[in-house]
């Protein structure tokens, strides 16, 4: 499914204009600090022999943005989706015990990007600063299967924080309407305390880490449109 989406955008014929609406999709890779969440997972280690099999690894990100391009500037709104997770597991002949912790982040914010021309005209460097709110969910799911007995319990924590992400990257103007871009930045999160059923916890969802993007941008010209 992911590959299909990438191909769909790559072969979508568009032309670039110097002024217009830009729709951007980026597939990225993020590193996540998530210290509190990791500590939470580690606190359950060795309980009934649980061992860590997954510990919130760096993972693929998805971002879409809608911005307005004018000259060398691009500003607009951006939505990103981060996901990672952890697992504690213990299994033997008698059954298994699994604790899955799925962490999802939904980031919605504004960005401002400035392009810097290079000696190779289709290629330009850009600097971007983005900020907004980060909606985080931590879904914890415990599953026990011992002999014929089984039990499952799920809990969900939600939190809202603020992020700030400076990014540097480069775009390649494939056509006037279609640009490719590569970039990387660092996201810093603030606030983001998770709540369980409205009750505030001690855990903060700080997705701090590096972000790497590779995206495709479709320009919708506002002055001249050629299809």
């Amino acid at each position: 499914m992911k590959k299909f989406l990438i191909l769909l955008f790559l072969y979508y014929p568009i032309h670039a204009y110097t002024q217009g609406w830009a729709i951007d999709y980026s597939l990225g890779y993020g590193t996540y600090q998530l210290d509190d969440i990791v500590n939470l997972q580690h606190s359950m280690l060795n309980n009934y022999g649980l061992k860590e099999t997954d510990c919130f690894p760096n993972y693929i990100t998805h971002s879409v943005s809608l911005g307005y391009v004018t000259g060398r500037s691009n500003f607009g709104i951006n939505f990103s989706y981060f996901t990672t997770g952890g697992r504690l597991n213990r299994a033997d002949y008698s059954g298994s015990y699994t604790v899955d912790m799925i962490m999802n982040g939904y980031r919605l914010g504004l960005y401002s990007r400035d392009y810097i021309n290079t000696k190779y005209p289709p290629l330009s460097i850009y600097l971007q600063l983005g900020s907004g709110v980060m909606f985080s969910t931590l879904k914890m799911e415990e599953k026990v299967n011992v002999y014929t007995e089984s039990a499952q319990e799920t809990s969900k924590l939600n939190g809202v924080g603020i992020y700030l992400e400076p990014t540097i990257g480069a775009t390649y103007r494939f056509t006037d309407r279609l640009h490719f871009s590569l970039g990387g930045g660092y996201e810093a999160d603030f606030l983001g305390t998770l709540k369980l059923s409205g009750q505030e916890s001690q855990i903060k969802a700080h997705w701090n880490g590096f972000r790497f993007y590779g995206g495709i941008t479709y320009i919708l010209p506002t002055k001249k449109i050629t299809l």
Binding site: K2, G49, T83, T84, G85, N89, A91, D92, N104
Partner: protein, 606 residues
């Protein structure tokens, strides 16, 4: 076109979400599943589960659990309810009988063990081994309250102390019986099935038993039994004239009896409660009964009992010792003395009619001599230590006092005659003094030759009409005829006399005890009318009853009565030691012993 782009945007967002991270790691351990069964050993104070555990005090229970696997926990259940939680293989808990109801309870020890596999199921407590073992517990709070003592008389007649114990025999080690009053040492009963003890040392009286139950674990409890049974009383039953039945209550347990009378043993080691002995008139005898256990080897200081009672044949007049007697046939009154009082008693009913105190200076009647009563009227004379009082009758008023004319125990004669004269021969003298009873004046006095040395019986006598006087002694006799103030010796001899009495209402007949015979002589001729040979057992004259005209005399070991006109025919005989009795109106009266009276009328054949 715009719509298509919007759809693409929204779809892409949902697709992003669909790309949520999915953990895939596993941590599977290859472990060996547990065996189906493992050996488990649970012990409780090393008591076999088929045995019952008896709890009668705060009891510590030691539990030991052994298995090849580790113990997770153990529970003590009492009747299915959690009683104690235990966490070690060896532990103790206590059972308090006060916290459980009396009766049988089921104590179960449940033990849970690990499977030893280290599996997830084991860690979650869903895999392991369990074992349980149960014992029956019988709770007996305060067993001493159920330890009851009782007593009874067994078939052999001995006291048997028995007890009931709620504690079963299997846990009893022994009983110890302590009875300080009947047993010299404590009795140990080593057979728990024996629940009684025959006390051969108890016969009656106080009993104090302490029975202690010793259990095999050293615990003991005791109970006391205290009771008291009366000491037997002594009773008498007249079995006719000659036999006396003495009987007493049967003591509570078999007894052994010694019956004594005035230090003389009547029966010894006797087990019956009745004995018949000969009667003995004239004595107030004290019979003492000593009661002991039937088996002499059980005698001790505390189980010896005694009972005593006085008995006299006849009726006591309640007089002091040595009372004086006189009989008035006209009024049928017996006169006697009671210390300083002159007492008149109805000779039939023996009820006191009247009395008068004659206090002298310093003697009075209490130290006085003889009393006399007239044969023809109601006159009565009493000689005090200083003087003689003569009353007209039993009203005891206006006495004629003859002073000085003292009487005493040695006075030989004190007699009123039908010619209103009072004849006195004082002790140690050989002179007879004669007074007028109406005036108190002395009429005459005359001497006689043979004075006796004995106070009793009568050796000196005067006929009722005052015409004849006789003085006898062991050396001889003189019989005088009295005419007003002169005397005439009618007869004399030197035989050995032991008594002389003129026959009442027959003044011409003189009863004599002489040599080995009793004679009646006709006066004045001194002719022999009757004779009774008493040579085999010498006789001792008492008196002649004016009412029945019977002679009372003592011979050998008995008082005998015969009619004066037939001395040889004994009409009544009673065993006695008293030789100084008198008989008036068929009632024999003792000189000593408080004046015991015996009515012989029922025994006379009319």
């Amino acid at each position: 076109m715009k719509k298509l782009k919007s759809i693409l945007l929204i779809t892409s967002i949902f697709l992003f979400v669909a790309c949520e991270f999915a953990p895939t790691g596993t941590n599977f351990l290859e472990l060996t599943p547990p065996e189906d069964n493992i050996p488990i050993e649970i012990s409780l104070n090393d008591v076999n589960p088929s045995d019952t555990i008896y709890v009668y005090r705060n009891t510590s229970c030691s539990v030991n659990i052994k298995s090849t696997k580790d113990l997770i926990k153990a529970e003590v259940l009492m009747d299915g309810q959690l009683y104690s939680n235990l966490m070690n293989n060896a532990f103790s808990f206590s059972v308090n009988p006060d916290q459980l109801t009396e009766g049988v309870h089921k104590l179960t020890i449940n033990a849970a063990f690990t499977s030893g596999t280290g599996s997830l199921a084991e860690m979650m407590g869903m895999e392991g081994y369990t074992g349980d073992l149960s014992w029956n517990i019988r709770v007996i709070p305060n067993p001493e309250n159920h330890f009851k003592l009782g007593y009874c008389i067994n078939k052999a007649g001995f006291l048997e102390v028995f007890w009931n114990n709620i504690v079963p025999d299997t846990i009893i080690k022994k009983y110890i019986v302590r009875s300080g009053l009947t047993q010299m040492t404590d009795i140990t009963i080593s057979d728990p099935k024996q629940k009684s003890f025959v006390d051969y040392g108890y016969v009656c009286g106080s009993a104090n038993y302490e029975v202690t139950t010793y259990l095999k674990d050293g615990y003991s409890f005791r109970q006391n039994l205290i009771f008291e049974k009366p000491t037997p009383g002594v009773y008498f039953e007249n079995l006719g004239l000659n036999n006396l039945r003495i009987y007493w209550d049967k003591p509570f347990a078999n007894g052994r009896f010694n019956l004594t009378c005035e230090s003389k043993i009547i029966a010894s080691g006797f087990t019956d409660t009745t004995i018949t002995i000969p009667q003995l008139f004239g004595k107030n005898r004290q019979f003492s009964l000593a009661i002991s256990p039937q088996k002499p080897e059980y005698d001790n200081t505390y189980n010896q009992f005694s009972a005593w009672k006085w008995f006299s044949q006849g009726t006591s007049l309640g007089l002091p010792n040595w009372p004086l007697y006189a009989y008035n046939i006209t009024d049928n009154i017996i006169y006697t003395s009671n210390y300083d009082r002159l007492v008149a008693i109805d000779a039939t009913t023996l009820q006191e009619i009247n009395s008068v105190s004659i206090i002298g200076n310093p003697y009075g009647l209490i130290y006085g001599g003889k009393i006399a009563s007239a044969p023809h009227n109601s006159t009565v004379a009493a000689m005090t230590g200083e003087e003689t009082w003569i009353f007209n009758d039993s009203r005891f008023i206006n006495p004629i006092k003859i002073s000085p004319l003292s009487g005493g125990i040695h006075t030989r004669l004190s007699a009123l005659t039908s010619d209103d004269r009072f004849f006195v021969v004082q002790g140690g003298t050989n002179i007879c003094k004669v007074f007028n009873t109406l005036t108190g004046e002395k009429i005459v006095e005359f001497p006689f030759t043979y004075k006796t040395i004995y106070d009793i019986p009568d050796f000196v006598t005067v006929s009722e009409d005052g015409k004849y006087f006789c003085a006898s002694s062991e050396n001889g006799i003189e019989v005088f005829e009295i005419n007003e103030t002169t005397t005439n010796l009618l007869y004399t001899d030197t035989r050995h006399y032991t008594g002389a009495i003129f026959v009442p209402s027959q003044p011409d007949k003189l009863l004599l005890s002489v040599g080995s015979e009793i004679e009646i002589r006709q006066i004045p001729g001194f002719n022999l009318i009757q004779t009774l040979d008493v040579s085999a057992n010498s006789a001792y004259l008492c008196n002649i009853d004016p009412a029945s005209m019977s002679l009372l005399y003592y011979q050998s070991d008995s008082l005998k009565v015969c009619k004066i006109n037939n001395l040889k025919n004994t009409v009544f005989k009673i065993r006695s030691d008293e030789s100084s009795c008198k008989m008036f109106n068929n009632k024999i009266l003792t000189y000593g012993m408080g004046g015991i009276c015996f009515d012989i009328s029922p025994y006379l054949s009319h």
